[in-house]
């Protein structure tokens, strides 16, 4: 008796809830289609640029997007910054879609996956939004221009220049890299090797070791390098994890000040070691300039000054004139060298 009653109740409940659900869906769709005309006017007049970094709360992107904001302030556009909390492509797609719906004039994106955000970017472009990628490119078919922080050649050259100058252009050096199959690092190392051979015959690269971009491994490998090569005069670590771990080891070892360390690092990680004299100089690009340039590139694409074609020229505020290169790429310039004098200007 009880069971029977309960089941009828359930059936009825389901039936009514089901109808409610249907009508609710119907309402949502109706509203969705009818409300469309209302809001389309507000964004069209002023140049709006939306920055979508890989993730928010990342000091690197805080710095780059602040550069973008400065540029947008200079040319009188509207700046906004949105993005996911974690650096994942699916979350980024939602923000790209949103910006496209808002008919933003231009998106400046650092992509979490070159392919996964492609469809979303192209949909945005179909709706009239211009797309500039910076820091990390998307597939070239889904953006107008890519603002590259530095070229492979530039990054290899600055590191060779720094280390050879510091050790007086002769002696043994070693490289502490990321993992053995890291694409970027291997490309840089290959170029560094050929530059050393051609222009610095007295500098001998004695070892390349891999810290796997793991702090402890990089720390241990630094210790091993110094033991197995007692005459080592310089270490180059073209990865932020590696150079920070090597600096941490050196700062407490008796080789401090005797072995010159440089590489690609971030000011926040390296500040302490630059101040205590373990590291004199290291390189990276200036993210603030990168964001600044990307914002001006976005403006140039919206204005029609550039289309992404090779040879197009535009002016980027205080950074002066830039030319679009192959594959719609604009290169920021030579890497930036951080020293004890300038490191406190950078908070990333």
């Amino acid at each position: 008796m009880k069971v029977h009653f309960r089941r009828t109740g359930t059936l009825m409940a389901a039936a009514v809830i089901g109808t409610l659900g249907l009508t609710a869906c119907g309402n949502a769709t109706d509203n969705a289609t009818s409300g469309g005309g209302g809001g389309a006017t507000s964004a069209a007049t002023k140049l709006t640029v939306t920055f979508i970094p890989k993730n928010l709360g990342n000091p690197y992107f805080d710095t780059s997007d602040a550069g973008g904001k400065k540029a947008i302030g200079e040319f009188g556009g509207t700046y906004s910054e949105v993005g996911p909390q974690q650096a994942s492509p699916d979350a980024q797609v939602q923000y790209i879609n949103t910006a496209a719906q808002q008919r933003t004039s231009a998106l400046v994106v650092s992509s979490n996956d070159p392919k996964a955000i492609c469809d979303a970017l192209n949909q945005a472009r179909k709706a009239g939004t211009k797309v500039v990628t910076f820091d990390s490119d998307a597939d070239p078919t889904c953006r107008d221009v890519f603002v590259n922080q530095a070229t492979t050649e530039g990054i290899a050259k600055i590191q060779v220049d720094l280390v050879t100058k510091a050790i007086g252009d002769s002696g043994e050096i070693a490289i502490l890299s990321a993992s053995a199959n890291a694409t970027n690092q291997n490309a840089w190392i290959d170029l560094m090797k050929s530059q050393l051979q051609s222009s610095h015959p007295n500098v001998k690269l004695v070892d390349v070791v891999y810290g796997n971009d793991d702090d402890q491994t990089s720390f241990d490998k630094t210790a091993a390098l110094l033991q197995s090569h007692p005459n080592l005069k310089g270490i180059v670590s073209p990865t932020t994890v590696g150079v920070a771990a090597a600096a941490r080891y050196l700062s407490t070892s008796d080789k401090k000040g005797k072995v010159y360390l440089t590489g690609l690092g971030t000011p926040n990680q390296m500040r302490q070691y630059v101040k205590d004299g373990t590291v004199k100089e290291f390189a990276l690009w200036n993210p603030s300039d990168l964001g600044y340039l990307a914002a001006y590139a976005a403006k140039a694409v919206v204005d029609g000054t550039i289309t992404g074609k090779e040879g197009d020229k535009f002016t980027a505020g205080t950074l002066k004139e830039y030319t679009v290169g192959k594959n719609g790429t604009v290169v920021l310039g030579d890497p930036f060298v951080f020293t004890a004098e300038n490191i406190d200007q950078f908070k990333f």
């Binding site: 109740g9 769709t29 409300g35 906004s80 909390q85 492609c118």
Partner: protein, 349 residues
């Protein structure tokens, strides 16, 4: 049992309209109506298309997850199964296997993942929280191990287009067709079949369910199989939707699924909850974040709002039944004395 019995003391219309599922649904409708009126660009078909495309994996996985949670168990490994099936499609396709076959293999792998979870929980008797935390790491590890940090992206356009295709010009994504079918089938199973009743019985009391003839172990095993295979399907969809197979695809998705299930009124202790509420819960979270994104609210604030909503909802899941039984008692003060042994209430008269 006493709570269930007490709820039947309400008139039928109250039971239909004053319950958790309708409350979530009403909140969803309210949010949508508010957003259409107040959020620029929310009232476009595109918003609904994106909303459904974005929430589709959560919608799918929430269905079997509801059933698992109703039995009092949990499956935390779902997002890792999404990642693993995505990687398997990618790796096989890259190796020259036809894409349909690759997708089938991924489904089978999902089934095997579910079988491992289900076997350990149902037949070995280990707690599902511990088992699936383990397999969360295990399946994700396999996924990342198979593909490393690279991604497979060269999927045929027919398949990636299919994942974002719409039904005619309605703006409703095609992926909603299999979803609605699955939702209807699972709703029938959960709410109108002996197997479904067994799921609730297990959640209320596994011992009692066992004594009343419910095959507890088999039921749990089947449900874990189901989450495995549905998660794998979601993984295949995810792969084509983004055209990218990566080891870290859908990391953290399990928490979105569980959050939506709890918001939809399912009790984490089991025995309580309905699919309709869960579907409304998923869409509610989706609609709120979509509206807030359009308003330019940052992700941290969106998370705070959704987190607060979730805490409030868990509170009400536990406070509302207590409050309703209290009002039931207050409204009919005479009930108890009348049923009490003779002489207790009347002796003083």
């Amino acid at each position: 049992m006493s709570r269930t019995y007490a709820s039947y003391a309400h008139p039928w219309w109250q039971r239909l309209l004053v319950n958790r599922e309708v409350a979530v649904l009403a909140l969803l409708v309210a949010v949508v109506i508010w957003a259409v009126g107040n959020v620029v660009y929310f009232g476009t078909t595109l918003t609904m298309t994106y909303l459904l495309l974005d929430t589709a994996p959560v919608l799918f996985i929430a269905l079997p997850m509801t059933m698992v949670i109703v039995t009092g168990e949990i499956d935390l490994s779902v997002a890792s199964v999404v990642g693993l099936s995505s990687v398997i499609v990618g790796v096989l396709y890259r190796a020259g296997v036809p894409i349909g076959v690759a997708a089938l293999v991924a489904l089978v792998v999902g089934l095997l993942c579910g079988a491992l979870n289900g076997y350990l929980v149902a037949y070995v008797g280990l707690p599902s929280l511990a088992v699936t935390i383990g397999t969360l790491a295990l399946f994700r590890g396999l996924a990342v191990g198979l593909l490393g940090t690279t991604a497979v992206t060269s999927f045929p356009k027919e398949w990636t287009d299919l994942a974002t295709a719409q039904i005619g010009t309605t703006g409703i994504p095609l992926i909603m067709v299999p979803f609605v079918l699955l939702a209807v089938v699972l709703a029938l199973v959960l709410h109108f079949s002996p197997f479904g009743r067994g799921i609730y019985d297990i959640g209320l009391s596994p011992e009692a369910a066992d004594f009343s003839g419910v095959n507890v172990a088999r039921t749990k095993f089947v449900l874990f199989l189901l989450t495995g295979v549905v998660s794998a399907f979601a993984g295949i969809y995810y792969t084509f939707r983004f055209g990218s197979a990566r080891g870290d695809n859908a990391t953290g998705l399990e928490l979105q699924v569980i959050a939506a299930v709890l918001l939809g009124g399912v009790s984490i202790f089991g025995g309580r909850g309905r699919l309709l509420g869960v579907i409304a819960g998923v869409l509610l979270i989706g609609a709120i974040s979509s509206a807030l994104r359009l308003l330019g609210v940052t992700v941290n604030v969106i998370n705070i709002i959704i987190g607060a909503l979730l805490v409030a909802s868990v509170l009400t899941t536990n406070v509302l039944p207590w409050a309703s039984s209290l009002t039931a008692r207050l409204r009919r003060p005479g009930t108890r004395p009348q049923q009490a042994p003779s002489g207790v209430g009347s002796s003083k008269r």
